[in-house]
């Protein structure tokens, strides 16, 4: 199996996408602090390699679906940062016209099926999208993301059974960031081997270093191939880490500052790829500065766009309740 991303151009693309997510999320955190974003806001900082690696091997028409920690998924699958930020700030120009907010955003054209606020609820829905892929025989795979905390919800196992029984083309991506809100995996799970949760259902699984975008990309490619060849679902356990609290209002007292700092210093997915780019392609400090500037401009543009957009028209309260 070939490693799909090795060229300088491809590596830079991965780098750019991860950096975009990082800077976008920092800006979102700032706008939350200023009161422009309300409600719940779950940042993806630290986990960027997972979604960027997987998106890099997606084929046209493949779908993805995730929980409420969804900003990174949207940016990685090509959704417009301006419209994502506009939704975060509750503006009419957002993906859901301001009605969904941080946790509930969708883009059918980019194959992004949300953005779901209830822990674990997206798992059977993702399998349903895969069911439709098989039904339509379109060769597409649905990447269904959930956390190691959601992996304890009962409906996940009902889904595993059906997905395996009916050989559905679904890759279950367990983003194991080690903390379900404030509860560490050892305090909530009888076993830490999330990739093995499908054993009883004959679903193969693999643990992946989710802080290494290239390893993610390679394993995602294998998993997707498994699905496309008609062998049914596959579980990828992405070992990753979130730097920020569960949501903006999480005091994060369940782990030490040193623990977070150590991962940031030793395992940061962006720094890791940056080192590789320097080593392999001799990218200069100046080139990185240019990239930084470009990404910052996109993020600034997105927040300016959002904050200058109007709130939804009050009549929107009554629209979209039923389809035409």
């Amino acid at each position: 199996m070939k490693i799909p991303t090795t060229s300088k151009k491809e590596l830079l693309e991965l780098y750019n996408k991860m950096l975009l997510i990082r800077r976008f999320e920092e800006k979102a955190g700032q706008l939350y602090g200023m009161g422009h974003i309300g409600g719940f806001c779950h940042l993806y900082i630290g986990q960027e390699a997972v979604v960027v690696g997987i998106e890099s091997i997606k084929k046209t028409g493949d779908q993805n679906i995730t929980s409420y920690r969804d900003h990174g998924h949207m940016l990685a699958c090509g959704m417009d940062p301006k419209m994502v930020m506009a939704e975060l700030t509750g503006r009419s120009t957002g993906y859901s016209k301001g009605k969904g907010g941080s946790m509930h955003m969708f883009s059918k054209s980019e194959g992004f099926y949300g953005g779901h606020g209830i822990v674990g609820a997206q798992v059977p829905i993702g399998a349903g999208i895969a069911f439709a892929n098989k039904y339509k025989n379109n060769g597409n795979v649905c990447f269904t993301y959930f956390g190691e905390g959601a992996a304890n919800q009962g409906q996940v196992y009902e889904t595993f059974n059906m997905a395996s029984l009916w050989s559905l083309p679904v890759v279950f991506v367990i983003e194991n960031n080690q903390y379900a809100m404030g509860t560490s995996i050892v305090r909530a799970s009888s076993t830490e081997e999330m990739f093995a949760r499908g054993v009883a259902f004959n679903i193969p699984g693999k643990a992946v270093n989710g802080m290494d975008v290239l390893e993610v990309s390679k394993e995602a490619s294998n998993a997707a191939e498994h699905c496309r060849s008609g062998k049914g679902p596959f579980i990828l356990e992405m070992k990753t880490y979130r730097y920020r609290g569960h949501s903006m209002s999480d005091p994060a007292k369940y782990r030490t500052r040193e623990e977070v700092q150590k991962i940031r210093e030793e395992k940061d997915p962006i720094d890791t790829l940056r080192s590789l780019l320097i080593e392999k392609y001799k990218i200069s400090e100046k080139e990185f500065k240019t990239i930084d500037g470009e990404i910052k401009a996109i993020v600034t543009e997105s927040s300016d766009f959002a904050l200058n957009s109007p709130e939804p028209n009050i009549e929107e309260l009554w629209t979209d309740i039923y389809a035409d």
């Binding site: 301001g98 209002s249 309260l317």
Partner: protein, 462 residues
């Protein structure tokens, strides 16, 4: 380039906080991700990270300062040239952005609510007989729940608390703060995220005679467990011919909080109230919350106890002694009047009491009834009042279709038809999923203005 650091909003409902600690001093260099301060709210102590790179020029509030309003200036950082341009834009936006003014409006709105509560409390004092054996103390609803649980756990070793983040995290909304330390991990049990599973398990434990208090982080998540609440907890006593009862309390925040959108903002009162076998409580004041929760814990049937996140931080005088319970199924007449009866419960009472202040100014005398218990509903108090006032308006935040108000209205029609001088009107949330945008969310909830307008309508006044 000088960049302003503002007091951040760290949760959906935060309006002000204290600066517990500075980690930096003027002259210190900071980069994104560095912790610059600890910010404290009534809920939590949080680290505040810099997202700027630069040098701290000035700290504008001293360590230990309390009640700092969100978005007020707390420090100034000197940032580097090119980055400064962007940061400056933030400041400009911050100064010109209309949302900021909305925010300050919101703050004053809450102030008004606080005034309402204190004024209401004065009224309550006038109308209620004070218990001579008890002393009045000020309690938040959060403290009321916490103390009710703690007191009942002390009284009965069969009572235990289980749920997500109730122990080591001290409660997602800090309701269970300190209980793990006091009662240990055998009685304050952190569960995995598995609502259907732990609810079923708790129901089994209750069938065996111990008394679980199940906390749902919000009742939105209890939808995952609805089967166990409805099909197992509510019905087994009946199906077993009275052999197996289920002494259990399902509790947690219910209804809209602030800007958390459709999947996290729903009032399930009427849904649970339609299930025979359940008792359903949705209190407003801290006193009722405490007394009714204690009654719920002592109850031999499953009780759904619906709290409200916005009310958690509200403070009320509490007149009951530690061992006092408030009986389930009794409404409370909060304000005596003669022109119209307004019936509400839970956070609907907040809007009702605010409306009532304006109604008084308009010369309208409203009798305000807080249902407190939604199942069974105290129709005796309702009918007695309607027979006197001949008009009725109901107020709640839930959806209008099959609402508590619509059921109360139908029962008034059946039981007091000849006494009615106008149709019963219902003020409810709008018949839409809760939108995220600030303006739409406000429009989706009921309001004092709607209540006033409904009251005028039943009085045939313009």
């Amino acid at each position: 380039m000088k960049t302003e650091i503002l007091m951040p909003s760290l949760s959906p409902t935060m309006e002000e906080g204290s600066l517990a600690k500075w980690y930096v001093s003027p002259g210190d260099k900071v980069k994104p991700g560095d912790i610059i301060a600890d910010i404290e709210t009534d809920k939590a102590l949080m680290e505040y990270e810099s997202i700027e790179e630069g040098t701290i020029l000035d700290l504008l509030v001293e360590e230990g300062t309390e009640n700092i309003k969100v978005n007020s200036l707390i420090a100034i950082i000197e940032t580097e040239g090119s980055e400064g341009i962007e940061q400056k834009k933030d400041i400009d936006l911050n100064q010109n952005e209309p949302a900021l003014f909305d925010k300050s409006d919101q703050t004053s709105q809450v102030k008004t609510e606080a005034n309402v509560i204190s004024r209401v409390d004065d009224k309550e004092k006038n109308h209620q007989e004070l218990n001579e054996n008890s002393s009045t103390k000020q309690l938040t609803v959060r403290e009321a729940i916490n103390s009710a649980i703690a007191e009942e756990m002390k009284l009965d070793e069969n009572v235990f608390l289980m749920g997500e983040e109730v122990g080591e995290y001290q409660g997602a909304y800090k309701v269970s703060q300190g209980l793990l330390e006091e009662f240990g991990s055998n009685r304050v049990i952190d569960t995995p995220i598995t609502e259907h599973g732990f609810t079923g398990l708790a129901v089994g434990a209750a069938f065996s005679g111990i008394r679980p208090i199940v906390e749902f982080m919000t009742f939105n998540f209890a939808m995952q467990a609805l089967d166990q609440i409805v099909n197992s907890a509510a019905k087994t006593n009946y199906m077993s011919g009275g052999q197996i009862n289920c002494p259990i309390v399902f509790r947690g925040p219910n209804g809209a909080a602030a800007r958390v959108a459709a999947q996290h903002s729903q009032d399930f009162a009427s849904l649970y109230a339609s299930i025979p076998g359940l008792k359903v409580i949705q209190p407003f004041s801290a006193e009722d919350t405490k007394g009714l929760l204690k009654a719920a814990i002592r109850e031999n049937n499953p009780v759904v106890f619906l709290e409200n996140e916005i009310l958690y931080g509200k403070s009320f005088p509490v007149n009951i002694s530690d061992d006092q319970v408030i009986p389930i199924g009794k409404a409370k007449t909060v304000s005596i009047g003669k022109d119209v009866t307004i019936i509400s419960y839970g956070i609907g009472m907040l809007h009702t009491l605010e409306a009532n202040i304006k109604l008084k100014e308009l010369g309208i005398s409203a009798e305000v009834i807080d249902l407190r218990t939604i199942r069974p509903i105290d129709f005796e108090t309702i009918i007695e009042s309607v027979k006197k006032t001949n008009r009725c308006v109901t107020v709640e935040e839930s959806f209008p279709v099959c609402s508590i108000g619509s059921y109360v209205g139908s029962q008034i029609m059946i039981k007091a038809f000849d006494y009615l001088d106008a149709p019963v009107l219902n003020c409810t949330g709008k018949d839409v999923p809760m939108p995220y945008a600030e303006n739409l969310e406000k429009a989706a909830l009921t309001s004092p203005d709607e209540i006033i307008s409904a009251v005028k309508k039943v009085l045939y006044k313009n």
